[in-house]
């Protein structure tokens, strides 16, 4: 079981603790054994402990400590946003956020829709059984 996601310059990581919780950042330099220099298009470059980062599969092509403009350019070239939103991890997070932001009315509509689906599936199943019975009796 070798490691697949390494800490390297250009590795995209998810912040899992602290003020920037839930945001994607790029590792731009390594300070020492515990800390990395981390940057994102909408934040000031800062040190962050590795324990606060969850590495993702996405890696972008940058040199050590690029300028902000170069970083944004590289992120656009690598299409980080779309890759993240289409990955299963990214999609899960989006669904979680949506569920947490549901209104009481939205939750009600969701419940009604789920019940309708189940009923529909049941009716379809019952209809299929009836059809099979008729076919057998005709044959």
């Amino acid at each position: 079981m070798p490691f697949k996601r390494y800490v390297e310059i250009g590795r995209v990581a998810l912040v899992n603790y602290g003020k920037d919780y839930g945001s994607l950042v790029v590792i731009v330099d390594v300070v020492d054994q515990n800390m990395a220099l981390v940057d994102a298009p909408d934040m000031v470059r800062a040190k962050m402990n590795f324990k606060r980062l969850s590495l993702t599969d996405i890696k972008i092509d940058i040199k050590r400590t690029p300028k902000k403009k170069a970083l944004i350019e590289a992120m656009k070239v690598a299409d980080v946003k779309n890759k993240w939103e289409n990955s299963s991890w990214g999609r899960k997070l989006i669904v979680q956020k949506k569920r947490a932001s549901l209104n009481d009315f939205d939750r009600f509509k969701l419940m009604v829709a789920k019940i309708k689906l189940v009923l529909h599936a049941q009716r379809a199943g019952a209809a299929r059984q009836e059809l099979a019975k008729l076919k057998n009796s005709a044959a």
């Binding site: 947490a100 009481d104 009315f105």
Partner: protein, 233 residues
């Protein structure tokens, strides 16, 4: 001439430091125009004779003093205001009632009454909640709003909802042993008509939104995994 609105008296001597003005006595004399007042009055500062004193009616000493000193209560000029309405509660908001006979019911808010209580209606046809008063503390405000511009609730106030005082009849011995005849208080037709008129406009607005009617008809309940402090209402 219309009466001149009095402007507050402002000092013409700006303060440099606390207690020290910018201008000296002589400069201020000139600024205030005392020289002009004197000139108008012929070199002398105008003197006004004191007004003739209005003699106050002589108060006779009272003939009676109470034996003990009775303390007078302090004067209280407090005027109670209706409870501050939460910013999330506006006319047309759907509220969830948390306690009482209608707990869990989702209800439409109409207005806040003078006593601070909230005037609320089911509507009656949808979930059985009539025009009713509800305390703000026992209510969760959702972010769902219904259009109540077509509803007039001006005539409803706290007096409309007070219970009519029933005179207690003295029971004679015979009546004690009779089965208690409860006089059922019937809701007056006028109140039923009020309910209908308020609900008519509301129900039209509600049916315009898909699934809102079923939403209001259903009761709210916490299910497994729902954390009220994390829920967005």
């Amino acid at each position: 001439m219309a009466p001149k609105t009095k402007t507050a008296r402002v000092s013409r001597n700006p303060e440099l430091v606390r207690g020290i003005g910018k201008y000296s006595r002589s400069k201020m004399y000139h600024k205030r125009g005392l020289w002009a007042i004197k000139a108008k009055n012929g070199g002398v500062f105008p003197r006004h004779d004191p007004k003739p004193k209005v003699s106050e009616p002589v108060e006779k000493p009272s003939k009676f003093y109470p034996a003990d000193d009775v303390k007078k209560p302090l004067v209280n000029k407090r005027k109670p205001k209706p409870t501050k309405l939460r910013a999330s509660i506006t006319p047309g908001t759907v509220l969830i009632i948390l306690a009482g006979r209608f707990k869990g019911k989702r209800v439409v808010f109409l207005k806040q009454l003078q006593s601070g209580l909230l005037l609320v209606t089911g509507p009656f046809k949808i979930n059985g909640v009539p025009l009713r008063r509800v305390n703000q503390a026992y209510v969760v405000a959702t972010s769902t709003k219904v259009d109540v511009s077509a509803v007039t609730c001006e005539k409803f106030d706290d007096k409309y909802f007070t219970k009519e005082s029933v005179k207690k009849k003295k029971k004679t011995e015979g009546e004690f042993f009779e089965a208690e005849k409860e006089e059922k208080s019937v809701l007056p037709q006028e109140k039923k008509d009020d309910q209908k008129s308020v609900d008519a406009a509301l129900i039209m607005a509600i049916e315009g939104v898909p699934e809102l009617k079923a939403y209001l008809a259903a009761r709210f309940s916490l299910k497994a995994g729902m954390k009220p402090h994390e829920l967005v209402f």
